[in-house]
Subunit: 407 residues, 2 copies
Amino acid sequence: MKEYSQEAGDRIQNTEYRSMAEPFRFTVTHVDGRARRGELRTPHGVVQTPAFMPVGTRGAVKAVTHRDVEDLGAEIILGNTYHLHLRPGDALIARAGGLHAFIGWQKPILTDSGGYQVFSLAQMRKVREEGVTFQSHLDGASHLLTPEAATDIQARLGSDIAMVLDECIATPASSDLARAAMERSLRWARRARARQLQLRQDAASAGDVTVTNPGQAQFGIVQGGTCPDLRSESTQGTVDIGFEGYAIGGLSVGESVDVMYEVVGQTAPRLPEGQPRYLMGTGLPDDLVECVARGVDLFDCVLPTRNARNGQLITRNGILVIKNARYADDQAPPDPECVCYTCRHFSRAYLRHLFMAGEMTAATLNTIHNLYFYLDTMRRIREAIMFGTFERLRQEFHQTFSRRTQH
Amino acid sequence: MKEYSQEAGDRIQNTEYRSMAEPFRFTVTHVDGRARRGELRTPHGVVQTPAFMPVGTRGAVKAVTHRDVEDLGAEIILGNTYHLHLRPGDALIARAGGLHAFIGWQKPILTDSGGYQVFSLAQMRKVREEGVTFQSHLDGASHLLTPEAATDIQARLGSDIAMVLDECIATPASSDLARAAMERSLRWARRARARQLQLRQDAASAGDVTVTNPGQAQFGIVQGGTCPDLRSESTQGTVDIGFEGYAIGGLSVGESVDVMYEVVGQTAPRLPEGQPRYLMGTGLPDDLVECVARGVDLFDCVLPTRNARNGQLITRNGILVIKNARYADDQAPPDPECVCYTCRHFSRAYLRHLFMAGEMTAATLNTIHNLYFYLDTMRRIREAIMFGTFERLRQEFHQTFSRRTQH
């Protein structure tokens, strides 16, 4: 384990200052067990890892402003390619100068490939080797998403990290189906990478694709369901193609947390040590702690924002369901130890009132709290890794946090 | 016209510092024509007038946080007694220490009497001399609102300014109906005042009424529709009862703006010079300018917040309807000269996208802009009155502002 030093601190500041001119780069600065503390440099600035990425589906983190998101300490957000491609369209966003310019968020952005939403939201989808055809959930219009198209769309969006298109399957799946999807995902990943390299080397050859962020990185995705052999093959195949970073996909889709932890624990150590590892779409705060312990650097999840809108406040003790009658006269803040804007100013009684009355401000205040809790947990994790105390933090976290909702 | 001096500036600062200990007091510091620049001191701080009060119907200004509202420069907000009485209930709010403590807003609050909502929202309402019976729009439960009850509810809420219960009538109304309602409103005002004075002098005599803000002021309301004689009688009768301030009610209910300006122009000068004048529920920005010109000190209106949620941005040129297709690729901010958070960071194209996608953030960003425009207009009005240039501001305002929406 490397020691944290003043010199390291100075270096971090210099990096931030020069970040706009720097290419994509990832540095592991400290390790503690399998947990890693790192810095991810992107064309739009530095992300301290392990990091949580709030989900800004359609160019906005739901119920809060960018100002709120930045104040809460988020250094990177996620945008959904499927949603942005359908509305307002990546061509329009490219004309605005890319997603950062269009939405007015100047820090790093990761975009997914659109695949997950095609498989979960769109209608009449049909997977062929070429790609996946689907009908928009908005207007029923037909679309074809290929590995190349997903790459082109993200090139127009100009995110700092683009993801390859993979084939998502319903779970539980037979091992034949899982293998076929994993193998197709590998073939698609090769095509997506080839397209990305073509855009980097000779954007003019790519027809109508406006590359709005020439420094964009591309991550591959390990698939393979819950089968160790498939995961292992997928890992090797994806690493062989070669990306700037690697994601673990196809989890948090209904399997038990133990299985999820096991897959992550087997997969992460097989990924290149010097490159970032991103666990897609996970999870509850204790999942973040457990997967950092297994070597993951990046997370995203709709849970803190979606649950906030449903009146669930995620605290260090667990999930508080604000609509419960016991909170009607409760003058305590959601989490008395939390220092977020919501907890410093508002009571459970007031938050319950806003939620019961259907006030949008309920969603905003709950989202501020939940995102603060997630981002603060990541800050504490990063500090613990730097000081070599991650294992203690991990144990303390589990002592207080319960996955059960508190009614 | 008094001169603005450094001494006056100092005095204002001292007042703010000591405001918690000060009783309710209003001082006209400058006059310019009939326009007045003043200071309203309340138990929760000073309000510079003329002032606009954002509407915080159910204890929250819709789509924004208190932090946003305060950053925008609001010094006072309005709460709706009808809504708060029905949910979460004034007894619950009193147990939390009053509305300020319950909602976590420490600056001044004005509450209406609940009458307007009873007459516009509730079902099966029946007006008798005692008061008005109605069924809650939430659950159909029967309620009786009397002048005394409206006073008691507001005593529990502990707003800094409480309003008397008045009888609102549908317009246009016959002069018989208008006279009957005006006369009943005067009788109700007498009863509300008697109850308020009883609560002030001997709260213990009032049974279960917890007075959460002993420094609460009470305003009477001038009614009388659009008939000069009725307005004149109502003004005299209300002033004879004696309140800390006076409102002009029963306007902005469908009459033309010319008629509205005429009634305000006749009524305001007949109200006591040393007391605040509040025009209820008005209006568009040019209405504020015109009614300041006629001697009004306080305004409230749902228009900037409601129109924001409907995608209407109110700018110095008029109303911009963001959903229009012409804004799809428009990279300019809503109002290029505006310095609000929304206009400094976001384009019409992005705001249109958020609105079309149904993102809550659209409501938030539009509300921030509209409230900023209203509150900034009031700041410019106050400054102009101080410098004796209000008439010029008024002319310039009308040269650019159009009431028509810009499609």
